[in-house]
Subunit: 603 residues, 2 copies
């Protein structure tokens, strides 16, 4: 890293660019504005210009977007964010910027190369007239003065619980009360959007409590904060499942969410004429109808189990279930367990079964990428999400924006060197895995775990210890495709017979639009198409290139239907933009969507 330029020159170069950019926009001159980018420049916009999540690649796309949006957006006030000096390294100048539009206020991030914008990120953080009541604008709380019609906070909460969903309809219904659903609900409450969250389980956090006992977050605490309420300083690096469950339950209460537990969404249909959903739910066994204007599916990007159908599953006499239904190892001590799959769930379950004294075989059907947890933290996350990052002044919110500022098209280029480092650092580990016969990969282009996650949401394991069991043979490894099951065994294509008292199908999950098929209709599911993935044309992420993750946190081809989810980082960050999109619609602010995504795949 070399710093060739003096700080005030760096700042001056950013000021000059922002001034020229602001002038071009004010002059309604898209071509001039686009010419301020490098030939291969990117502009990623989160809601501020496009009412969409959209990455524009190259000058032509930038110019087209501006041509379509400038007159309405009326962007002004392009400035360096106060207190944050631009910095230059290796010929790239980075700056935090602020701006505003006719509708709201935005934060941004800029990278200049040779005086031109290489990457620009623009994000909306609040709508004018609908600023969040927090900080200096926080609510007064208990009303001072005397008032004969006073109702207390508690009475207001009780009143709301009695009315919402009965005499008053929620504007938004969120199906799924995991961390994604409640984080979004917290943001919507801050924006005064009447919202109900429904979940089939009884209490917030039950999504975690109901899983196998060794389950924990594989991402560290700095990556996992919920909106508004950060984990305290004594929170463990890796949350055990019951602890995060209790946190989510407290969060739901503290954020005053309308959370309906024991409530299953059974079916839904949209009336285009009235712009209203009819959603049949069963609450505590009682049928009810809700009529929200907007429907958000937050049932989890890894929520819809992909259960394979192998010949003989009907004759197998032991226990068999998808990994998501695995009750934990307690009943399987001394039993022969076959786990089909070799990704995160498979390793977690193999490890727990082995710990409980089961005889365990993992069936690897295709190659898997493994990154060791400590290496991932040290190399992958430390610069943005770590104790050191926090101490260095990088707040969670800044880290989220820095991450968001890297265009998907070139993100793998930032990732590849990290995985080259990991390969070096953990050479012994990978050698042992290979020796054990494990089929390991680094992703189609060597870009490793996070790109696999973004492209296909599968194909990897963050090693928290179980990989060693495979490397040293404690967990037996079988490779190949499953041909069929017998009464008491799994038989592979090569004839290998694996005697089994238990078969766990750690065979992953289907696209989230499967939820829409179940809840609404196959037709609507096909209309919106596949969720997740970038169109990178790598394994399980077919092209064409999409530029953004399919259908996530942004308008879909089905009016008033939204998908929300991802890991805790994504749920936290993108819930802001989804909440603003929903609020704008509720407030009647025009939200013409620029570049609504096309559908190239059904699932």
């Amino acid at each position: 890293m070399t710093t060739a330029t003096q700080p005030n020159e760096v700042t001056a170069s950013v000021d000059a660019w922002l001034s020229a950019f602001g002038d071009a926009l004010a002059a309604n001159d898209p071509a001039r504005a686009a010419a301020l980018f490098t030939e291969d420049g990117f502009w990623r916009d989160l809601v501020a210009f496009t009412w969409n999540l959209k990455t524009l690649e190259g000058r032509a796309e930038i110019s087209d977007m501006l041509t379509a949006t400038l007159a309405r957006v009326q962007p002004t006030g392009w400035n360096i964010t106060g207190g944050l000096e631009p910095a230059e390294a290796d010929g790239v100048t980075e700056a935090w910027i602020d701006f505003e539009t006719a509708a709201g206020r935005g934060h941004g991030h800029l990278r200049l190369r040779g005086g031109q914008a290489w990457t620009l990120l623009t994000t909306l953080y609040e709508l004018k007239g609908y600023e969040e009541p927090k900080g200096p604008a926080r609510p007064k709380g208990a009303e001072h003065g005397v008032n004969r019609g006073r109702t207390s906070w508690q009475e207001k909460r009780e009143h709301e619980a009695e009315e919402l969903g009965f005499t008053e309809q929620p504007y938004v219904l969120i199906v799924g009360g995991g961390q994604a659903g409640i984080g979004l609900a917290a943001r919507l409450r801050q924006l005064s959007v009447p919202t109900i969250v429904v979940d089939k389980r009884a209490r917030p956090g039950d999504q975690w409590r109901s899983r196998y006992k060794s389950l924990c977050l594989h991402d560290p605490v700095w990556y996992d904060h919920m909106p508004y309420l950060k984990f305290p300083d004594n929170w463990p690096v890796f949350s055990p499942k019951d602890k995060i469950a209790d946190w989510l339950e407290s969060y739901t209460k503290i954020m005053e969410l309308n959370y309906w537990g024991n409530t299953e969404a059974k079916s839904a249909s949209y009336n285009e004429a009235t712009g209203e959903w009819t959603v049949n739910v069963e609450r505590d066994g009682q049928a009810m109808v809700l009529r929200p204007k907007q429907l958000v599916l937050a049932t989890g990007m890894s929520g819809k189990p992909n259960l394979p159908s192998f010949p003989g599953m009907d004759v197998f006499r032991g226990d068999q279930h998808h990994s998501s239904a695995h009750p934990g190892p307690d009943a399987y001590k001394g039993k022969r367990c076959v786990v089909i799959g070799s990704n995160n769930s498979a390793f977690d379950i193999c490890g727990a079964l082995w710990e409980a004294g089961a005889d365990v075989t993992m069936v690897q059907r295709s190659s898997t990428h493994i990154a060791r947890s400590d290496s991932l933290m040290e190399i992958g996350l430390k610069p943005l999400y770590s104790e050191e990052a926090v101490a260095g002044g990088i707040t969670t919110e800044m880290a989220d924006l820095i991450f968001a500022s890297i265009p998907y098209r070139i993100m793998h280029l930032f990732q590849i060197p990290q995985y080259e480092q990991m390969r070096e650092r953990d050479k012994d580990f990978y050698d042992r895995l290979e020796k054990a016969g494990f089929d390991h990969d680094w992703g189609d282009d060597g870009s490793g775990l996070f790109m696999k996650y973004l492209r296909r949401g599968s194909g990897y394991y963050i090693d928290v210890g179980a990989a060693d069991l495979v490397a040293n043979g404690d967990v037996k490894l079988a490779r190949g495709q499953v041909d069929h099951l017998t009464e008491d065994a799994v038989v592979l294509a090569d004839g290998t017979e694996l005697p089994a008292d238990l078969v766990v199908y750690a065979t992953g999950y289907n696209s989230m639009n499967g939820w829409a098929a179940d809840l609404i209709s196959r037709q609507v599911a096909d209309t919106v198409g596949k969720c997740w993935g970038l169109g990178s044309d790598t394994t399980k992420d077919p092209g064409p290139w999409e530029g953004e993750q399919r259908n996530m946190w942004k308008p879909t081809q089905q009016e008033a239907l939204w998908f929300h989810g991802g890991n805790l980082h994504q749920s936290r960050h993108y819930s802001l933009y989804l909440a603003l999109q929903l609020k704008a619609r509720q407030a009647g602010i025009p939200t013409p969507v620029y570049g609504l995504q096309e559908v190239h795949h059904r699932s």
Copy 2:
């Protein structure tokens, strides 16, 4: 405010003083160290030197303390805190400092005048070898690796709940599960001190839920944070009672406290020989014995009702109760209500009764000080506890230390000008009160509300609106002493008869050592003597001068008996020093108490 000196000169003057001070201490020369203070200089020590909370006034007291403690304490490393430049204004230089002792590490605050120390605050924040697991030292959480004896977080918590109080005894028993008790318990958990909190009510927060519905915190949010977990940014300025109750319940869970609800401490006795308490408790109606080494009474400095005994209370036919037992106004619409008293509770209750449509009379028996909430926030709290203070870099922890750095002996001198400002700002209000016949005072020396709170814990009202009801006659005002009650009236000494369906005795609370009398014995209560107050020789705070608040958060004349409480600010801040004192004893670190307070008053 004039700044006469350049920043680097200021820093140099602090460095010079610290260097001379450090040298004198290292040379074991108490007289030389004391001579570095002004003649009227103060040194306030919170646990670091004295294993006590102690203010030393003048060179002789400072020299005496050092003579007694230096050899053991071995203080070193006196430095300006990194990142915090000393500042000079009006001839006083202020600096944040760090130091360490043989046993631990400390933060301090220094004020220099003419190159000599005018005030020095030294506080211990951690014990060597017993640092808290937080920040970079936070627990790992879920254990990586594979381990056949693995117990999950949930199993460990369940195991602890089964063992503690049964097969294992807590080191500390905290009686009282309000904000003070649970804040202390959170700190003790961080320090791995086995602790149980007992409270007679079912759930954490019930202390608030059970009170009248209009109750809210009269202090603003910035003043009210609990240890470790700050209120989120959207928390209201003044917490409604049920909202703070829910927060405390979540807090108890998040901090993993061993909280026994529905548990009443019935009696306790101390065995000097074994150094152990025998505490009889009733948990869910079941008698149990606990044997802690340390007993903390956190039942509230305003916890023990002072119910007067007026002739005729036995013949009065209406409802009558102490303010702490007042159920709220709902049953008293259209009824004649007499509230005896004119402080916080009296005003709150009068306001709520009037709102509910009752006919309300307040009986003022002695003068009261009233400060308007908004003026108190603007003039009294804003520099330390406000959105502005936070934005200016003054963390809650810094604000607490700044507040603690002002010696009680001269604190009123800092307060008087604030109340002079308030008198001016709210002149109309005070004129109207006077015109209505209200007997208003500003404290014996004009130092207002906070000094009254510290000296006597009574005699004031933070006006959140009800004072206007008295000023405008909506709530009727009667002045004088109560002579007796009849079947249906309160009769004052001047013969005034106040017809009443309800009498509320808003007559305040007795000293916390009354709790010790109830739980342990009158003898122990007398041994420890009066709690709270400074010995200021002002109304209800008899001399002699004590220098610190009597019996609060520090050793008492009864070994292993401690009192904890105060407002949210005090509970938060002083719980640290109480927790460190308890941890040191549990860890077997010698804790010779310097200057154990004498007892001058029994109640």
